[in-house]
């Protein structure tokens, strides 16, 4: 039943949209085909040769290309240093980090930035995550002033192969720790994003922990 809904909507849309030429086309093709089509454009294209012997089943399948075993892609360049001019962060050393046994992201000491090595390298699809302390064991961390960063500020990443890439802040956010959007922060696909993260909000002296995460999202400048 739910599958007939799009059919009705398509027909109505065509009628209201004034595209009278396609109206009959939408009803000529086999109902089963139309119900799984989500755009009127497809209906138009298919209806032109609806009478041809193209299999109705074939129209609903998709060629995915070759499964032949290819060469392994060259490893991506690894980020080695991070600079944020607006925060006076200059070539802060970057180390690659994973996860702790309790499932949390591993974080290096106060004078280093951790790059999440199980995610993308910055500039590749998905979110490349850099985390650093706001303060650790009584020392201010590299991201001490991350909550001062502003949209438009520039971050430069230096890679181990000597190359550099620049990113510009597109969005800043502060989340209660239990509301950190980990699916976005650690996204493995989607447009290339560089995500900076530290702590913020209130410091709880008995838990020795902050209430919030401060996050800044950036996009490549020379995409």
């Amino acid at each position: 039943m739910t599958r007939t809904l799009p059919l009705l909507m398509l027909v109505v849309l065509t009628a209201c949209g004034g595209a009278a030429g396609q109206q009959s086309a939408a009803t000529q093709v086999e109902p089963q085909f139309v119900t799984t089509t989500t755009t009127p454009v497809s209906v138009e294209e298919s209806s032109d040769d609806a009478e041809e012997s193209v299999s109705e089943l074939a129209s609903r399948t998709q060629e995915l290309g070759s499964a032949l075993l290819g060469p392994v892609r060259d490893p991506s360049p690894v980020p080695a240093a991070l600079s944020i001019e607006s925060l006076d962060v200059s070539f802060a050393p970057v180390v690659d980090v994973g996860v702790e046994s309790n499932g949390e992201m591993e974080i290096p000491g106060a004078s280093q930035v951790g790059w999440y090595r199980f995610g993308p390298s910055p500039g590749e699809a998905g979110s490349a995550v850099f985390a650093a302390h706001i303060a650790f064991n009584g020392r201010d961390g590299i991201f001490r002033d991350l909550d001062d960063i502003e949209v438009g500020d520039v971050i430069e990443i230096s890679y181990d192969d000597g190359s550099t890439k620049r990113f510009r802040i597109t969005e800043t956010a502060q989340y209660s720790k239990d509301e950190l959007p980990v699916d976005r922060v650690f996204a493995k696909d989607g447009p290339p994003e560089l995500t900076l993260i530290t702590c913020g909000g209130d410091f709880n002296r008995s838990l020795r922990s902050y209430s919030d995460n401060v996050v800044a999202y950036a996009a490549p400048i020379d995409a």
């Binding site: 739910t2 809904l5 799009p6 909507m9 109505v12 849309l13 209201c16 299999s55 109705e56 089943l57 074939a58 609903r60 399948t61 998709q62 060629e63 995915l64 290309g65 070759s66 499964a67 032949l68 075993l69 060469p71 392994v72 006076d88 996860v99 309790n102 499932g103 949390e104 992201m105 974080i107 999440y116 199980f118 995610g119 650093a132 302390h133 706001i134 303060a135 650790f136 064991n137 009584g138 020392r139 201010d140 991201f143 001490r144 720790k177 950190l180 980990v182 922060v185 650690f186 493995k188 696909d189 993260i197 530290t198 702590c199 410091f203 002296r205 020795r208 922990s209 902050y210 995460n213």
Partner: protein, 263 residues
Amino acid sequence: MRKLISLLTAALLMAVIAIPASAQEEARIHLIHGIPDTPVDVVAGGDVVFADFQFGDTQDLSALAGETLVGLQVRLAGTETVAIDAGDTALPASGNYTIIAHLDEAGTPTLAVFENDTSSIAAGEGRLIVRHTAQAPAVDVKANGSVAFAGLTNPNSVQADLPVGTITAEVVPAGADEPVVIGPVDLPIADGSALIVYAVGSLDAGSVSALTESITGLGTAPTAVNTGNSPVGSTVPAWAAGLGALLLVGAVGSRRALVGARS
């Protein structure tokens, strides 16, 4: 009329929004052609579904989930010669499956249906799945020189979750070191992804090789990012020396108090 249109527009939007939401629960069914040197036509319901389907190519059948392919046949391309007569074939309504047209151990073309394990993978690991779908006896699969999977036979599947990285794999006859049937090949183990490797082809014809498919999005993101265990301002950034000098007294004092209370 205007009200009607806006109502319909709203309904249309709801329908459009509803489609991706329900799509996530739908099946994912892929069909792989795993018989070398044998272009085929796939026929169902009396129609050619795919003409000239080539070795190594993949088709996405997900939109046909839950339906029955009536009189499913695989024919040599452009001929009436039936290579595989599968009969009426019901596709699963949900779940993640791969159907592969391949040679059985005796070299006869056949279809195998594998259910793919999409359970979540721990952070820092990827899943390697190896399937024997070749005309060949039992094999061992070596990873980085040691036997990882022993005695794998057609049409069976073995798997393991491994740390991310690249492993060098070889397929050898079970219990032997040579001849190497496939490889050595480098296989990328990616965080949160399943890499499925099919041994395909014919040992007798010297056409054994590997096909792959991957399933992404099975990973586990870190649960939290804890980046601070002490209050800010304990040390003095150069730019804030003046202000910091005032704060420092209080900060160091309170830290001492904390340390003192604990010891």
